[in-house]
């Protein structure tokens, strides 16, 4: 039944505020015009006085002193009492004397209360219930009791207005359950509040802009009103005078106070400036301290900070301090620079120093300078190393020379030392550089090369990495004009390349000078001098055993450096160096092995060791094999194992060829040795074995054993047969094994070498065999004729034979002797030797028979008997040629009569039975040695 146009408030802005808040009320039917609006109640208080009707849907008003939440009611003539959907909450704002407020607040109560308590009014600016953190009261169900808090914070209080206020207490008391996030938000709120308070006026003006503008409007209006009323005249003047008087009076009253306040203010300002810029004033001292402590980063950061803050300050004091700072920084920079050029820094340190310097905007290019100095230092290191070692090598040589030509005492001293190398080994540990011990020390060159590679592997990577870092722009100075920086970089890039190449080249040449002097022959003399000329005395040659070690060192060094991704040239230099060294090492070792093998004949013991497989051999083939396999072992790492990126050592034709030739020579060398032994053995052993450094101990012991029975040097024939056996063994067992071994280790074209070696050994075999046969058959054959005709024997007139004559028996005995000799050395050769011997004897017999002019009947019988006996005895060793010879001989002898034949058979049987034991020698080889010896002794 309500009128249709009943006022309805649907919006208030704002929805809460203290009394006097300007409020915009929106809604429907809020009056047709100003006069239609007859009432406005906010929170029950009539506010019509302040209401300003704008439109039927909008009224602007000021709130009254209503407190708490209440309705906003509009009354109109046309619509009557209205309703509202929204309400307004009024509250009282308590304000301290230092707080700005845009509206009039009745302070009388609060101020009086404060005055009554005699407390400064500024102490309680906040209402009790207002939370300084602005955190809502969500979580405070479990409050801590005051007792608990007192226990926690003795002599403290949660009251903010007291001097012993403790924030901890307050937080525990009021925000016991607030989360950390909430507390943080609260802190931000508090900070905002504080800054608002400091900004004060602006905030107030901003938040109450409209009210202030209203005031201004009112003032302007008032002014206009006054102007219009034209009452400027006397009235205003007197007011002005009065005001001036009041002002001077007030000034007089407060001058002293104000002066003190000004002074206090200025002092405070100065103090705050000092604290605010404490950083700058402390900076020089802090820098000093940090530099001493080594916290360069802090120094640099501080300086950067100071620079950005004060570099163009106008304040005199700051400028003065800043200048001091700059002076110290300059010193610091110099110090860093010096330290940077100190070559003993690690890479990290250098990197750090460079980045420090860069960030300090040092002039020039510290990284580059560092690179240059580093390179110089490396070169110096290498050269020092070279000079040191050359020097000690020379002194050692001198000492050696002095010892050799020195007093006889030293010479005698040396001899026993060498004769028993055990002593040398014992003396090795001693530090004295006596001539005897010199040889066994690690050779100077080996130490040299180790030191060189150490220097390279330790320092070069750092240098290289530094260079890399430099060009990858790690130290790029940001202040550089980009294109300019780039240009200088490219030119430096090639420079660095050059520096690296120089360094690597120097290293390579140093090594070459020591190990491959011939490869440097092309260099100019002055250059050559620079790389160090090593004395070329034979003794200073590095022993073969050390070479692989050196090669290993160099190769590992090269591999290390290769891991650095070096640029092309330097890598090639290094790889060439490694390759040349490897080749050189291989050749040297092979040559040494050849020499060793050649000198093996000094070690012949003539002690024959029989074994079933290969017959009797001396130690020599085994020694030979040992030397070869040892060499191969030594070379294995050098030759066969290729590290990634290294060329195959046999990939180059000339090297391959030479290696093959050397291998062949190595194999053939032993043949030479054997031959020498067979024909011209060393008369007596030289006690000082020139190459004994190699297997000094073992070999020397063997030698010393031999020294005792040195006179027992076998006769030529014996030597021949022994060597023959050795040769045979070498040919059939040792050589294939060695070839196998070589092939296994990757040597190429070994078949050729094997073939050549086999030919050599076959030749030697042949030669030895021929000589032996000659040696053996000559005496037998020579003795035959005289023996045959001993006692004036004549084939024509001889009596009826009584048996086989002794010449044949003697003959057979000598053959048995040969058999025994051969058998004792090597049963294998028995057939071969006996065949030849038999053949020779048969030929001789045949020749003798041929020479006979006429046979008597008895003579014929005798001849036939002897021939038959011989033929049957030697049947095992007969061959076509012997058979032919026998036939030939039989033809020359007249046929026998029947009795003759019978008699021949009888005599033959008698011969065979009587010589049974002896004849057994000519039976199958199965005859065991024992029987053979028995036969031998029975003779």
């Amino acid at each position: 039944m309500a009128p249709k146009n009943m006022p309805l408030v649907t919006g208030v802005s704002p929805k809460e505020g203290p009394p006097g808040t300007r409020i915009t009320i929106r809604g429907e039917n809020l009056g047709l015009d100003v006069r239609d609006l007859i009432g406005l109640k906010i929170c029950g208080m009539d506010c019509l006085l302040f209401a300003e009707w704008i439109s039927p849907s909008k009224i602007v008003a000021r709130t009254g002193a209503g407190k708490g939440k209440g309705d906003v009611q509009v009354f109109t003539k046309s619509g009557g009492k209205g309703t509202c959907t929204v309400g307004f909450r009024g509250y009282f704002l308590q304000i301290g004397p230092l707080q700005e407020s845009a509206m009039w607040i009745d302070e009388s109560q609060t101020v009086r209360a404060n005055l009554d308590h005699g407390r400064p009014s500024a102490a309680a600016p906040l209402k009790e219930e207002e939370d300084p953190l602005g955190i809502s009261d969500e979580g405070d169900r479990a409050k801590m009791t005051e007792g608990e808090l007192l226990e926690l914070f003795p002599e403290a209080s949660g009251n903010m207005s007291l001097e012993n206020f403790s924030p901890g207490w307050y937080l525990l008391e009021n925000h016991h359950n607030a989360s950390f996030e909430d507390l943080k938000a609260g802190l931000a709120y508090m900070q905002r509040k504080a800054s608002q308070r400091s900004e004060g006026p602006i905030t107030v003006v901003r938040s109450n802009l409209t009210a202030i503008l209203d005031c201004l409007d009112s003032l302007t209006k008032t002014y206009e009103k006054f102007g219009a009323d034209d009452i400027r005249g006397k009235c205003m003047d007197s007011y002005a005078v009065l005001l001036m008087q009041a002002k001077s009076c007030a000034d007089g009253l407060f001058q002293e106070v104000l002066g003190r306040k000004d002074k206090a203010d200025s002092t405070r300002n100065a103090l705050s400036v000092l604290t605010k810029f404490r950083f700058l004033f402390h900076l020089p001292l802090n820098m000093q301290r940090n530099i001493q402590k080594g916290d360069y980063n802090i120094v640099i950061n501080d300086f950067e900070k100071a620079k950005s803050l004060f570099s163009d300050t106008d304040v005199k004091v700051f400028r003065k301090v800043y200048k001091e700072v700059e002076r110290r920084i300059a010193n610091f920079r110099d110090m860093l620079h010096k330290r940077l050029l100190d070559p003993n820094n690690t890479l990290d340190e250098q990197n750090k120093l460079i980045s420090y310097l860069t960030s300090l905007e040092c002039q020039g290019d510290p990284a580059w300078e560092c690179l240059v100095s580093q390179q110089a230092h490396l070169i110096e290191l290498l050269e020092d190393c070279k000079d040191d070692h050359l020097e000690s090598e020379r002194t050692a040589l001198l000492a050696d020379a002095a010892n050799t030509q020195g007093t006889p005492g030293s010479a005698t001293k040396r001899k026993p030392a060498s004769a028993s190398p055990g002593a040398i080994f014992a003396a090795k540990g001693k530090s004295d550089l006596s001539a005897g011990g010199w040889r066994d020390r690690t050779p100077q060159k080996v130490m040299y090369i180790e030191d060189l590679t150490d220097i390279m592997t330790e320092n070069f990577p750092d240098f290289w990495k530094l260079g890399q870092a430099y060009f990858s722009g790690e130290f790029n100075r940001t202040r550089d004009v980009p294109e300019k920086g780039f240009k200088s970089d490219t030119s430096k890039h090639s420079k660095l390349k050059q520096m690296i190449a120089e360094l690597v080249g120097l290293f390579a040449n140093f090594v070459r000078a020591a190990f491959l002097p011939e490869s440097l022959e092309n260099a100019a003399d002055s250059e050559r001098e620079k790389f160090g000329i090593w004395p070329t005395v034979a003794k200073s040659m590095v022993a073969g055993t050390w070479l692989p070690h050196c090669v290993r060192t160099i190769r590992s060094c090269v591999a290390n450096l290769a891991g650095l991704d070096l640029t092309g040239d330097s890598m090639i230099i290094l790889q060439d160096l490694a390759f040349d060294l490897r080749t050189n090492c291989m050749f040297t070792l092979l040559k040494q092995a050849i020499a060793d093998v050649k000198s093996l004949y000094n070690k012949q013991t003539w002690a024959v060791e029989t074994d079933d497989e290969s017959g009797g051999t001396t130690q020599l083939p085994a020694l030979f094999e040992n030397i070869v396999s040892e060499t191969v072992q030594h070379l294995h790492e050098v030759v066969v194992l290729n590290k990634p990126g290294e060329p195959e050592i046999f990939s180059q034709r000339p090297i391959q060829k030479e290696a093959t030739v050397l291998c062949t020579q190595l194999l053939q060398a032993f043949a030479q040795c054997l031959e020498q032994l067979a024909y011209s053995p060393p008369l007596h052993k030289h006690p000082l074995d020139v190459r004994s450094s190699r297997h000094s101990k073992a070999a020397a012991e063997r030698e010393s054993e031999l020294d005792d029975d040195e006179d027992h040097l076998p006769s030529l024939d014996k030597r021949l047969i022994i060597m023959l056996s050795d040769c045979n063994h070498t040919l059939h067992a040792v050589i294939p094994r060695i070839i196998d071994n070589l092939n296994k280790h990757g040597y190429v074209e070994m078949n050729k070498a094997a073939k050549a070696a086999q030919n050599t050994y076959k030749e030697l075999d042949h030669k030895l065999f021929e000589s032996y046969i000659e040696q053996k058959s000559d005496p037998i054959i020579g003795a035959m004729e005289p023996c045959m005709y001993r006692g004036g024997f004549s084939w024509k007139t001889c009596p009826s034979p009584t048996g086989v004559r002794s010449y044949l028996k003697e003959n057979l005995m000598s053959m048995i002797e040969v058999h025994a000799e051969v058998f004792s050395i090597s049963p294998k050769f028995v057939g071969r030797v006996m065949g030849k011997v038999t053949e020779a004897v048969v030929e001789e017999v045949t020749r003798l028979i041929h020479c006979v002019d006429i046979f008597g009947a008895n003579g014929a019988l005798q001849a036939r008997l002897e021939l038959r006996a011989f033929k049957e005895t030697a049947a095992l060793y007969s061959s076509k040629s012997t058979d032919a010879c026998f036939d030939d001989a039989f033809k020359c002898i007249p046929q026998l009569s029947k009795e003759g034949n019978k008699m021949l058979e009888d005599l033959l049987a008698e011969f065979q039975s009587r010589m049974k034991f002896q004849l057994m020698c000519f039976r199958a080889v199965g005859v065991d040695t024992k029987t053979n010896r028995g036969v031998h002794s029975s003779c």
């Binding site: 919006g11 802005s13 809460e16 929106r26 929204v86 955190i135 938000a185 905002r192 608002q196």
Partner: protein, 200 residues
């Protein structure tokens, strides 16, 4: 009078406008409430509006709390947010900072409401000033998708999408309430008890 009161629909959807200062929260609200566009700018502290609307044939009340965007009032927001059932998070497409600030508002709301699925609309206002645009549609949409909320561009001045955002939000609130009723039918007792405890 009593009649007028009974006429008021029982269902009230409480909407809260959030966003940085000066992005047009009040403008959107006033446009929605009174079809009025306010040219001059006066910072809001906290305004309250409520009116009857017909939502999909059903009469409901919408209660709009227009909050202060200024940082000065950030701390009191918590209390306001707690009463809200749905949020219109407004930024100005011609002001990147206001867009960035939506992140903080979102976080604050999620923290206070402790509910990932609170009805929420991301509103890019002032599309009538497209030529001054700083926030692209795509990046705003991307953020909305991250939050899994709708994104709408509006203009309070030319009245584009103004009603839409309020109605969309109310629908969301309504469906949330239905869901909650369905879910909490059994638990209601418990919850009430719990709430009492909280008050204590």
């Amino acid at each position: 009078m009593s009649k007028a009161k009974t006429q008021q629909p029982a269902v009230i959807h409480k909407v809260i406008m959030v966003g940085s200062g000066g992005v047009g929260k009040s403008a959107l609200t006033l446009q929605f409430m009174y079809e009025e566009f306010v040219e001059d700018y006066e910072p809001t502290k906290a305004d309250s509006y409520r009116k009857k609307v017909v939502l999909d044939g059903e009469e409901v009340q919408i209660d709009i709390l227009d909050t202060a965007g200024q940082e000065d009032y950030a701390a009191i927001r918590d209390n306001y947010f707690r009463t809200g059932e749905g949020f219109l998070c407004v930024f100005s497409i011609k002001e990147q900072e206001s867009f960035q600030a939506t992140q903080e508002f979102r976080e604050q709301i999620l923290r206070v409401k402790n509910d990932e699925n609170i009805p929420f609309l991301l509103v890019g206002n002032m599309i009538d000033l497209k030529d001054q645009r700083q926030v692209t549609y795509e990046e705003a949409l991307k953020r909305a998708q991250e939050w899994r909320v709708p994104y709408v561009e509006t203009s309070a001045k030319t009245c584009v999408n103004v009603d839409k955002v309020f109605y969309d939000l109310m629908r969301e609130i309504r469906s949330r309430k239905m869901e909650a009723i369905r879910q909490n039918n059994g638990k209601q007792k418990k919850r009430e008890k719990k709430r009492k405890c909280t008050i204590l």
